[in-house]
Point group: C2
Chain length 175, copies 2
Amino acid sequence: MTKIEIDAIDRRILAILQENGRLSNQEIAERVNLSPSPCLRRIRRLEESGVIRGYVALLAPQKLGLDLLAYVSVRLEKRGGPLPSMPAAGGPGSPARAGATHAELFRAAVQAWPEVVACHAMTGDMDYLLRVQVEDMAHFSRFMREQLLHHPSVIDVKTSFSLETFKETTALPIP
Amino acid sequence: MTKIEIDAIDRRILAILQENGRLSNQEIAERVNLSPSPCLRRIRRLEESGVIRGYVALLAPQKLGLDLLAYVSVRLEKRGGPLPSMPAAGGPGSPARAGATHAELFRAAVQAWPEVVACHAMTGDMDYLLRVQVEDMAHFSRFMREQLLHHPSVIDVKTSFSLETFKETTALPIP
DNA sequence: CGTGAAACATTAGCGGC
DNA sequence: GCCGCTAATGTTTCACG
C-alpha cells in the first residue's frame, strides 16, 4: 500500500482506461499528449501501485440469460459459532473450522457462491447486503432455499428485486 | 439483440476475459486449445453480438481516497411532473423538459452525478436504489444536501453505509 | 480450422532537458 | 527527476489453403 502521487496526466490516463481498458498504449499516449514510453511508464506505475486493480471484460447479463438481479439483506446469528468445539471436525474439503465465528463462516460461504457478485457488511438493521445475479425466479428460489437460508449462521433475510437498471458503471469519480 | 449460440469454448473464453481482459489473443488461444485465428474470430463474434459489452480497467477506490461507499434508497413523488405545463421553459442546457415526469427527471439527474455509480428501480418500499461512492462523510453530506435532497422529485431517502466489502466482482456466473 | 506474412504495438536502453 | 528517440521483440490480423 505504497503512497503514490497522482498528477493531472495520471488522472486523464485513469479516466481513459476506466472507459476502455483495451486501448493501445500508443492511442492513450496520443490522447494525453505524451510519447509512448513515458505513457507506458505511468501506466505500469499505476498498475504496480495498485491504483489499477486489473483489466476485465464486462459481459451483458441478459445476453447470458441472467435476467434476475436481487439485493438481499442478511442478518446473522451473533453469539458463538455453530461448532463450539470440535477439535478435528470436518474432513478435508469441509469449510467448517473449529472456533470459526458465524461471520467467518458466512463470509467463506459467500466467496464460494458464484451467484453472489457482491457482499458488504453494512450499517443499519441488517448485517450484510448481497447482490445476487441469477437466471430467473426459479434459480433465485433455489439459491435461497438451498444455500442462503440453509446456512446455519443466517437468521433473517429481506430481498428486493431490480425492476430496471438505469445506471451501472465501473468508472469511479476520480477526485 | 441478435440471438447467439454460445458453446463450451465460448464460455471458457468469456470466463478467461472476465478475469483478465488484457490477455493476448495468443494466450487465450493456448488456454482453450485453439490456434490464434479461430480464437480471435470467436472473440470478435462475442463482442459484436453484445455478449462482451466492453473492456475496462478497474481502479482501487481506497487508493484514490474514495473511502466511503453508501447505498441510498430513494422514494419519488408520484403524481405529475414538477413543471406541469411550461411550453418553452428552461434555457439551453437546462435538463427540465415540458411534460417530463418525476421519474424521468430523476433518472436524468442520476446520469449526470458521477458519485452515483449504480441506480436500479426496485421492488419494495422504496423506488430506487443508488450506489454512491465518495471520498468521506463531508462529501457525502454535501452530495445529499445539494444534489439528492435538493432534487424536486425526491420525497424520502434512507442510507446504509458499507463497513467493509467482502466480495466485489464484475465476473458473472456463466450459466 | 490452421498457416504465414505484413502491419502494428510493446518495451528496454540511452541521451537530453 | 521525467521526457522522447530508436531498435529489437512480440502480437494482431487478414487472405488463403
